[in-house]
């Protein structure tokens, strides 16, 4: 080994260059502690003591054999120290021998622990060597947190906006009921789930007359009342959609009993027939209903069901309105102006 140049240096200079260093004597006891380290652990607890009284010291077992013998610490290799009492701050260290077997110099620093350590020990700029990257690290951590916070909040706002947009895409603006797009989704889901359900197509009677006689404002008011009635007459699980000017489709989850469906229809119709006040007039409407259920079909097809409900609805209209009809494949075969369907079974 080349003869090493001897560098004389004052102890106070070490305090400037390495604020967290420790000088150990030949017996491995602490002789001197750098000023910043003095803030981290009480100096009285250190001077004259073994390092191991204050720190747990680990290494990676990668020291060369010649660097382990005859010292308090393995030299020239990575050391990991943890305080035995107080906050369990993790420190990094390297130790080197002093010349002539006079002891060891151990330099310590924080690693990632610097952020917590500054708070735990009230450290400030003066506690770090000017050459230390600690201040840049603290700046970076703070800037990163601020940016991440902003991004997290932006994500939440975007998520909220997305949900709202999706809601709007499925909602009828005037009544707040679902729209046709939503209905398609719901039906597809019910069919996939193979759950029994009923489909009711409701067409308002005499609605056109209200618009023509009293104006569109009256018509809108009527539709809003109709929407309220339908919401009240359906259960949580059911769906009410406005699919046309005065047309509504209702889907009744797990309800296929004909008697019940007829009773519900009659209830809806008699509520629709109650006069609807608008300004100083009373609007009068009624409703025609066509119903089909999933029980009629071996293979469920949404379009087919809507079509069949329409056939039943037409029958209601034909029978004088203000009534409900359940689809009957034998009787209800074609809409006017179309040929009777030939249905594959």
């Amino acid at each position: 080994m080349k003869p090493q140049e001897f560098v004389p240096i004052e102890q106070s200079a070490l305090d400037v260059m390495m604020p967290m260093h420790v000088l150990l004597d030949a017996q491995g006891r602490v002789r001197h502690v750098g000023p910043a380290l003095g803030k981290v652990c009480k100096i009285d607890g250190l001077i004259g003591h073994d390092l191991s009284d204050v720190f747990d010291v680990r290494d990676n077992g990668m020291a060369r054999p010649e660097d382990v013998v005859g010292g308090a610490l393995p030299h020239y290799t990575k050391l990991f120290l943890t305080l035995k009492s107080g906050p369990s701050t993790a420190l990094k260290g390297v130790a080197v021998p002093l010349s002539d077997g006079r002891g060891e110099l151990l330099n310590l620093s924080f690693g990632l622990s610097v952020v917590d350590a500054v708070a735990d020990y009230g450290l400030n700029v003066a506690d770090f060597a000017h050459t230390d990257l600690a201040i840049e690290m603290l700046y970076l951590v703070e800037a990163k947190s601020a940016v991440l916070d902003e991004i997290k909040q932006l994500n939440m706002r975007l998520q909220g906006a997305k949900t709202e947009a999706e809601e709007q895409a499925y909602t009828d603006t005037l009544t707040g009921l679902k729209n046709r797009r939503a209905m398609d989704q719901v039906m597809a889901r019910m069919i996939r789930g193979r759950l029994p359900f009923a489909l009711m197509h409701l067409d308002l009677d005499f609605f056109k007359a209200v618009n023509d006689t009293h104006g569109h404002a009256a018509g809108d008011a009527v539709l809003e009342v109709v929407a309220d009635i339908l919401r009240e007459e359906t259960r949580e699980d059911d769906m009410v959609a406005r699919v046309g000017g005065d047309e509504f489709i209702l889907v009744f989850n797990r309800l296929v009993d004909h008697d019940r469906l007829m009773r519900m229809s009659e209830r809806i119709i008699s509520r629709l027939e109650e006069p609807i006040p608008f300004q100083d007039i009373e609007c009068r409407i009624s409703g025609s209903i066509g119903i089909t259920t999933s029980e009629f079909y071996d293979t469920l097809d949404a379009e087919q069901m809507v079509h069949d409900a329409d056939l039943a609805l037409y029958a209601s209209k034909h029978a004088g309105r203000a009534t409900a009809t359940i689809y009957d494949p034998a009787k209800h075969t074609a809409l006017p102006g179309t040929a009777p369907e030939v249905r594959a079974t």
């Binding site: 700046y139 970076l140 703070e142 800037a143 902003e150």
Partner: protein
Amino acid sequence: MHGMINRAIQCFLRDTYGAQTWSEVVDKADLGFDNFEAMLGYPDAVTLDVLSATARHFKKPVESLLEDLGTYLVSHPNVEAIRRLLRFGGESFSEFLFSLNELHGRARLALPDLEMPVMRVKPTGDGMFELTCAHELPGFGYAMLGVLRAMADDYGALVLLEHQGWKDFGEEVITVHLLEAAFSEGRAFNLVAGEELSL
């Protein structure tokens, strides 16, 4: 322009003059929306529209509004994060001034897309400094006037500031005369946020 800058203008107007004023500026600028996202990007024209609408609204020159914006960014509690990040630059006002040489690089560590002005600070003797500020959007220098004034207060320093106008190539020049480094207490600054309240 990075949304952060537009958001700064929005928050400045809203926090200083109220939500109503911000609404009116938004209308005058014909934005079509009333909220900037700090993490998104916007066309430069939008920033110019907002600034000129603000100037029209207050019937004040844009320069004085930019100066007020600069002061706001350092002194208002809602934007404490900015003041803290600037204070990392140095323990004294003159150290802080020199740290402006690195502000461009520092900001890029946090937000690579944020176009900060490139600044050069050089001492010209006798406690005098010259700050040169260059950016695509002219007028940043006026915001810096406000920032410097508020930071001087923060450090407890007594300074004289003067905007010297434009050099060639669109660079703005500000002269800083540091009269006294420790004129008053200034505000405390701890390396970790939230520690100011203890002791």
